[in-house]
Structures are given as structure tokens and as C-alpha cells.
């Protein structure tokens, strides 16, 4: 069995979530990686994917249509390559979730999203009802299309392998779907999905200014990424890409510090696999304390600066 993993790359390196997808795919069989991009940069991306141990071949396709991972050309590319593979796999990222179901439909396959565990080549565990239940499902499709929840599989290392690189025929660009622009704020902080420590804020922060003045100094001390609850994002305190939860990012850092977050099911679904959880909340009955290893009942505006000072 050979598995095709779509690998997302950024500035010439493979994203950690994609390396987790490679680790998951390695449990199923031999792994080939597909990387795409514009013609100028796809070579460097392919080199990065070729170094990931466990990858035996890298397929690269570069053109303007693929440069922004638009679903339409990328799904067509996956379908054109699918014949050789038993499983088509990607990380359950915003790109994976956008593209793989489209490719699956074209292959007449029911995709299996958010795989947490692989039982055998046909059988997979995935969360339903915001993670309140885990379903083990067996697929009758000849080919499987899977997205992998990155936090459930330790990522394959970035270095150590040396796979062969081949060109794949890139689909022609159409005009029905066009990339217009992207707003992707850059930050010196680690990315939420790969951070060792996350400091997350909720309704208790009251406004965006307090994220800066109260949470940031603590995050700076810890070298942490900053996350947020849905309420904090919906209220406009921070942008949408900060959101941790069922419909935001799923994270599992070594240390997750929840500040002024009550702990709605929706939020817990995104962070309850963190190794150590700290909750700071003035409401001692907040549900977040039911999953926290260490709970501190108190006013965050008093406690958080003290904590930052004590580190």
C-alpha cells in the first residue's frame, strides 16, 4: 500500500501539521508526498519534503493556479494522481478541509475527516459532537480520503530523509476561481498549532487592549503563543485566527494557560488534550476548572501581572 500525503509548505519548510499527517500515513504504508506552489518556489518546498524521514518520493507541481492552494485545481491534481494510491491524506487544516472533500467527491469516496487514531487500513477513530463522543468507523470505499488531526500524531522530523523528487503534471489554470488577497499577520510569536506554551484569553479580558497589556507580558515571559476563546474573537478583541476550539484551532501544547475563559464545551474541544492546563478565573464554578490541572480563583487583572513578574 502506498499513501499520498498532501504536504503544506511555508517559506521552504513543511508545516508541522503536515509532518503529523506524514507520521499518521506511515502507519498505513509507504508514503509519497505532494507539494505545490508557484513555479519559482516549489523546488525549495519539494527539497524540504524530501528530507522528512519516511517519505520515499516527492511529487511536485508548480504553477500560478496552485500557488494559493485553491481547492479547484488542487482537487483536480489529487484526483489525477489518486490511481496509484490506497489512501489520500492531508492535515485537517483549513487547506486540507477545503480541498480533500472536493477531491473525495470526484473520486466517489466518503471522506473521513479529523482522524485521531488509525485502527487498520479501513478503520479510523474520529470525534463527533464537538468531541463529546469518539466514533470508530470502517470505510467500504476502495480508496480512503482522510484528514488527520495533527495533535493526535507526533510529527515526523523535518530532517533526516532523502527522497527522490519527480514532477507531476499541474492542471491548467481556470478563471472560475481566483485568489484575490490574503491578510496573514506575521508575528514573532510561535504559531498556535506548534507552540510549546499557549496563553489564551476569554471574555474576562474585556477588550483587545487588555490582551496587549495583560496577556502579552505573560506570553513574552513564557515564549508562548496567544490564543482566544470564541467570545473574545466574536467580540472583536483579537482576529479570528486566534480562536481555539471546535471550529477554531485544535491545540495540544505542553502548557495551556486559560485566562478569563469559562470553558464552554466548544472551547474545551480545542484544548483538552494539552499536557498541563492552568485556569485563572474569578468564578470558582467555571467549567474550565473541571479540566484544569491547576486552578487559581482570582481576578486576572491582579493575578496575571503577578504571575508574569514571578517567572
Amino acid at each position: 500500500m502506498t499513501v499520498l500525503v498532501f504536504v503544506e509548505t511555508e517559506a521552504g519548510h513543511a508545516r508541522q501539521a503536515s509532518r503529523s499527517a506524514i507520521a499518521a500515513a506511515s502507519k498505513l504504508g509507504e508514503v509519497h508526498a505532494l507539494v505545490v506552489g508557484d513555479a519559482a518556489s516549489v523546488g525549495a518546498s519539494a527539497d524540504a519534503a524530501a528530507k522528512i524521514p519516511g517519505v520515499t518520493k516527492v511529487l511536485k507541481a508548480g504553477n500560478d493556479a496552485l500557488a494559493h492552494t485553491l481547492a479547484e485545481p488542487l482537487a483536480d491534481l489529487l484526483v489525477s494522481l489518486a490511481g496509484d494510491y490506497s489512501h489520500i491524506v492531508a492535515a485537517a487544516s483549513s487547506v486540507g478541509k477545503n480541498v480533500l472533500p472536493r477531491a473525495a467527491a470526484l473520486l466517489d469516496v466518503q471522506p473521513i475527516p479529523d482522524v485521531l487514531d488509525i485502527v487498520d487500513a479501513d478503520t479510523f477513530v474520529r470525534p463527533i459532537y464537538a468531541g463529546n463522543a469518539l466514533a470508530t468507523v470502517k470505510s467500504a470505499d476502495a480508496k480512503k480520503v482522510l484528514t488527520i488531526r495533527a495533535t493526535s500524531f507526533d510529527p515526523a522530523p523535518a530532517e533526516g530523509g532523502s527522497a527522490a523528487i519527480e514532477d507531476a503534471a499541474a492542471p491548467a489554470a481556470g478563471d472560475t476561481s481566483r485568489f484575490v488577497s490574503a491578510e496573514t499577520p506575521t508575528s514573532d510569536r510561535p504559531e498556535l498549532e506548534s507552540a510549546r506554551v499557549i496563553v489564551s484569553g476569554g471574555r474576562g479580558l474585556q477588550n483587545g487592549e487588555n490582551f496587549k497589556t495583560v496577556l502579552e507580558p505573560l506570553a513574552d515571559k513564557l515564549g508562548a503563543a496567544i490564543g482566544a476563546s470564541r467570545v473574545a474573537v466574536d467580540s472583536g478583541y483579537v482576529p479570528n485566527d486566534y480562536q481555539v476550539g471546535q471550529t477554531g484551532k485544535i491545540v495540544a501544547p505542553e502548557l495551556y494557560i486559560a485566562v478569563g475563559i469559562s470553558g464552554a464545551i466548544q472551547h474545551l474541544a480545542g484544548m483538552k488534550d494539552s499536557k498541563v492546563i492552568v485556569a485563572i478565573n474569578k468564578d470558582e464554578d467555571a467549567p474550565i476548572f473541571q479540566v484544569a490541572d491547576y486552578g487559581l480563583v482570582g481576578d486576572l487583572f491582579d493575578v496575571v501581572p503577578k504571575l508574569a513578574a514571578a517567572l
Binding site: 477545503n98 480541498v99 463527533i128 469518539l134 484575490v180 474573537v233 479540566v291 491547576y294 504571575l307
Partner: protein, 270 residues
């Protein structure tokens, strides 16, 4: 819309109004209400849903709202709600019509079909209704698949704008702002197209009592999935459904100093 067949009703509307029609189809799903925490059945065959309050999938409410706003600002002329499922799904369709959808279609199936089958049924409905735009919720909060919109787009060969936080229609295209991992991305897609709604696209309205009464008189057509010639055989068999491993509550600490001490010496994470 040139080069695509239109249904007779839309021709009639064009003659009457003298304006171009723009029809939006909004699929809606009946799911366990989002406030309810479901539990696996004791025998592990599924989740316990008997007697639970059912509601429209929250992402679908956002999709309905967006379609209504487009109609209200003159960018669309008709909003049609579709649901696929058991007879009681007509309650969900009445809710969509109470919010403002013009009419509804119920496709009856015996059980809750998988996204692949739903996408095939919707494709058959699209071929009958020839809408210009479909707006779907990005995922249903029961199976959390996040797949139907993308799959339907694939089957139809239409472009897709998923996880939308903003939708604007102009010159036969939709400009869609999408919520992506790194921030926001804007794509421009040619109509007919598929859009899936993310949380921040809008805040859905509540249906007023007079509108709930009015919705009872709006047309609701019922079809059988089998009449559409779609194979709804499940591809996935549920082997078991279980509770996730529980996380134990830890300890409450009395002070910042105690917290720092525990993190350093007990958890060893700082």
C-alpha cells in the same frame, strides 16, 4: 446564467419584473440543539438522541441569514431552503421560512445520510432548481464532517468559497473572505458557485411570531430520495461510539507563588 437552462417559473418572474433573477438555495440540517451535551449509548452503537431538543444546525442558520440579507439588498430574488432527512425536518424548513425563505423542499430519507449521499441528492435538486448560488453551513454540529459543500462543489464542477466571513456579489461573481489558519483570504469565484458559512459571517435573526404564522402558509414540497435516483448506501459503518477519555480535575492553588512552584517542580513545564 447564459447558456444554462432555467426553470419555467424563473422565466415567468423575469417577464413580470423585467429584471434578472438570482436564486439562492440554502440546505439546512436538523440536529441536536447545540446547548445539549450528547452522550454515547450504553451499547456503543451511537449517541443517545431520543427525546432531545432538535434545532436547525447553527451554521445553517447563518447561511439562511446571509441568503436573506442578499435578497433584502436586491442582490438575490429568491431564497429556497432544502432539507434532507426524516419527516420532522419540515420543522427546520418552517424555521427557515419563518426567518424569511420564500419556499422549501424536503427530501425524505430513512436515516441521516452521509455527506457524499447528501451532496448527490443536492446535485439532483440543483439540476431541477438551477440556482445561481448555494450557501451552506460549513459543518453540521452532529457529525462535524465539514464536507458537504466542498463535495457538492466537486460533483457540480462549481467553484467554492468555504468558511466565509464575508460575501459580496457583483458582475456574475462572488467575492468571498475566508477564515483560514493564518488569518483571512479573499477569493473571487464565478457564479454559479458554492459558499459555506463560518461563524462570523453574520448574526442570524430570530423569527417573529407573525412570521412564524406566515411561514405555515409558504409552499413546502416533499420528495422521496429514491425518486431522485440517488444511491444513498452508506460507505462508513460505525463500529463503535465511545466517551472520550475523561480529563480529571486537578487541584486549586491558593496563590501565584504556589502556582509557579507547582509548574516548576511538579509539572516541570516552566
Amino acid at each position: 446564467m447564459q447558456g444554462r437552462p432555467q426553470d419555467p417559473a424563473s422565466h415567468r418572474r423575469q417577464r413580470v419584473s423585467g429584471k434578472k433573477t438570482m436564486k439562492i438555495l440554502v440546505p439546512v440540517k436538523r440536529v441536536v440543539d447545540y446547548n445539549i451535551k450528547v452522550r454515547p449509548k450504553a451499547d456503543g452503537t451511537g449517541v443517545e438522541t431520543a427525546g432531545l431538543k432538535m434545532s436547525m444546525n447553527p451554521f445553517d442558520e447563518i447561511a439562511v441569514e446571509e441568503a436573506l440579507r442578499l435578497r433584502e439588498k436586491g442582490a438575490a430574488t429568491e431564497v429556497v431552503a432544502v432539507s434532507i432527512g426524516v419527516q420532522q425536518a419540515q420543522d427546520t424548513l418552517r424555521t427557515a421560512m419563518a426567518m424569511g425563505a420564500d419556499r422549501a423542499i424536503l427530501v425524505l430519507t430513512e436515516e441521516s445520510p452521509e455527506p457524499l449521499a447528501v451532496a448527490k441528492i443536492l446535485k439532483a435538486i440543483v439540476e431541477r432548481e438551477t440556482p445561481d448560488l448555494l450557501i451552506l453551513g460549513k459543518q453540521a454540529i452532529d457529525d462535524d464532517m465539514n464536507a458537504t459543500g466542498q463535495m457538492l462543489a466537486g460533483l457540480l464542477g462549481w467553484p467554492q468559497g468555504t468558511f466565509a466571513s464575508k460575501v459580496e456579489l457583483a458582475d456574475g461573481r462572488a467575492e468571498v473572505a475566508r477564515e483560514v489558519d493564518g488569518g483571512t483570504e479573499v477569493v473571487s469565484i464565478a457564479l454559479p458557485a458554492i459558499v459555506t458559512a463560518d461563524l462570523r459571517l453574520n448574526e442570524p435573526r430570530y423569527a417573529s411570531l407573525p412570521n412564524i404564522m406566515k411561514a405555515k402558509k409558504k409552499p413546502l414540497e416533499t420528495l422521496q430520495a429514491s425518486d431522485l435516483g440517488v444511491d444513498t448506501t452508506r460507505r462508513l459503518t460505525v463500529v463503535s461510539v465511545a466517551e472520550p477519555p475523561a480529563r480529571k480535575a486537578g487541584v486549586k492553588v491558593g496563590s501565584v507563588e504556589e502556582l509557579v512552584e507547582k509548574l516548576r517542580n511538579e509539572a516541570k513545564v516552566i
